[in-house]
């Protein structure tokens, strides 16, 4: 039986942003890397939702001038993370496998990759020192979620005795949300987005994962989150991601 369709009118991308925001509960400082409009929106949304609280959530959006605390170049993100000053960071992957390994290098046998991606950059390092690594990939397909990645940019878990304070915490896709068990090195399907079935998720996932007999449906955004997202967050987002903000506004307008 498919997860029930949503009662509120909400675009798929809004649901992903709200799902991402929920995963940032309790964070003091969230950093967002380049080319990540939905994680940036999720972080902005969580910050806005927390506003009445005494201790604000800080966010550092790389590429933004208005929403960025870094003033000392790329090196500052890494130093800051090593000192434990960053609670959450986002990583994606051309491929992600069932052990939480991500591949940002390319498909095919390295170094003879047939498809090249942006490169590992600081992913491995950050994955070792940021406690809440949130994996995000909108495309949920077997070419992305593979049994074993062709190249490990950042490993999902490390052998006992390896000093590691960080690692994958959750995985958000266009179809579902998973948690990651670092000890077992496995994903657990937590919620399915409305309209999808467990079978759909299985069919689109190239690896095995744990799940409840009947996984829950990803909750709808509540009215307050949605209002903040459609108002303040979209305005804030337009500075660093004008195209994304424009296209999301168009989608939202088309709902009416």
């Amino acid at each position: 039986m498919p997860a029930p369709l949503s009662a509120v009118r909400v675009t798929p991308r809004e649901r992903l942003i709200v799902t991402i925001a929920r995963l940032l509960e309790g964070c003091r400082h969230v950093a967002v890397g380049a080319s990540s409009p939905m994680p940036a929106a999720g972080a902005m949304l969580m910050r806005a939702m927390r506003e009445p609280e005494e201790e604000p959530m800080r966010i550092s959006i790389l590429g933004s001038m208005a929403h960025n605390f870094f003033t000392n170049g790329g090196v500052e993100l890494f130093d800051c993370a090593a000192q434990g000053r960053i609670d959450a960071f986002f990583l994606g992957g051309g491929q992600i496998d069932g052990a939480g390994n991500i591949n940002l290098v390319g498909a095919g046998p390295y170094p003879h990759s047939t498809v090249r991606w942006p490169g590992s950059f600081g992913s491995s390092y950050l994955s070792f020192v940021v406690p809440r690594i949130i994996l995000f990939r909108e495309e949920h397909s077997r070419r992305v979620f593979v049994e074993k990645v062709d190249f490990i940019s950042a490993p999902g878990s490390s052998p006992p005795g390896v000093f590691r304070t960080g690692g994958p915490h959750a995985l958000v896709t266009g179809l579902a949300q998973f948690s990651f068990d670092r000890k077992a090195g496995r994903f657990r399907l937590e919620t399915i987005h409305p309209g999808q079935t467990l079978q759909d998720i299985r069919a689109a996932t190239g690896f095995d994962f744990d799940h409840a007999p009947e996984p829950a449906t990803t909750p709808d955004p509540d009215a307050r989150s949605l209002a903040l997202l459609r108002g303040r967050v979209l305005e804030e987002l337009a500075e660093a991601y004008p195209e994304f903000a424009r296209s999301l506004r168009t989608d939202i307008a088309a709902l009416a």
Binding site: M65, N68, F70, T71, N72, G73, G74, V75, E76, P242, E243
Partner: protein
């Protein structure tokens, strides 16, 4: 840092809004540009404009400058970052970037795109 030798690029090249006549360059918070220049043997900077004063003169702004010590050449290239954006100057043109990305899928498309910009090197 001890295990892996640093990279020494022959040339670093980037675009910035302003240089002064001494060759100091405004880089603001984008300190990666300074790191590139420190690492490279030679650094070339294109800018929107050259100003008359001394960018290192004001204490509250000096930390956002790359001193001429690390800069080998400056060239004025108005809208030199386009179709990408340049902070404080102009925003990115997404439609044009998409057009470029489509053109650059083939060597012929790339050559045609370059020819249309009038930016082809003289000895191409």
């Amino acid at each position: 840092m001890a295990a892996i030798p640093g990279i020494v690029p022959d040339i670093a090249i980037f675009h910035a809004p302003v240089a002064d006549r001494f060759g100091h360059v405004l880089i603001g918070r984008w300190r990666e540009l300074a790191i590139m220049a420190y690492a490279a043997r030679r650094t070339i900077v294109t800018v929107e404009r050259v100003e008359d004063g001394n960018l290192l003169a004001a204490e509250d702004a000096v930390a956002g400058m790359l001193p001429a010590l690390y800069v080998d050449a400056i060239a004025v290239a108005p809208r030199g970052a386009a179709p990408y954006g340049l902070w404080g100057e102009y925003t990115a043109n997404a439609a044009e970037i998409a057009r470029y990305a489509r053109a650059a899928r083939t060597p012929e498309g790339f050559q045609d795109y370059l020819a249309a910009t009038g930016l082809q090197p003289e000895h191409a």
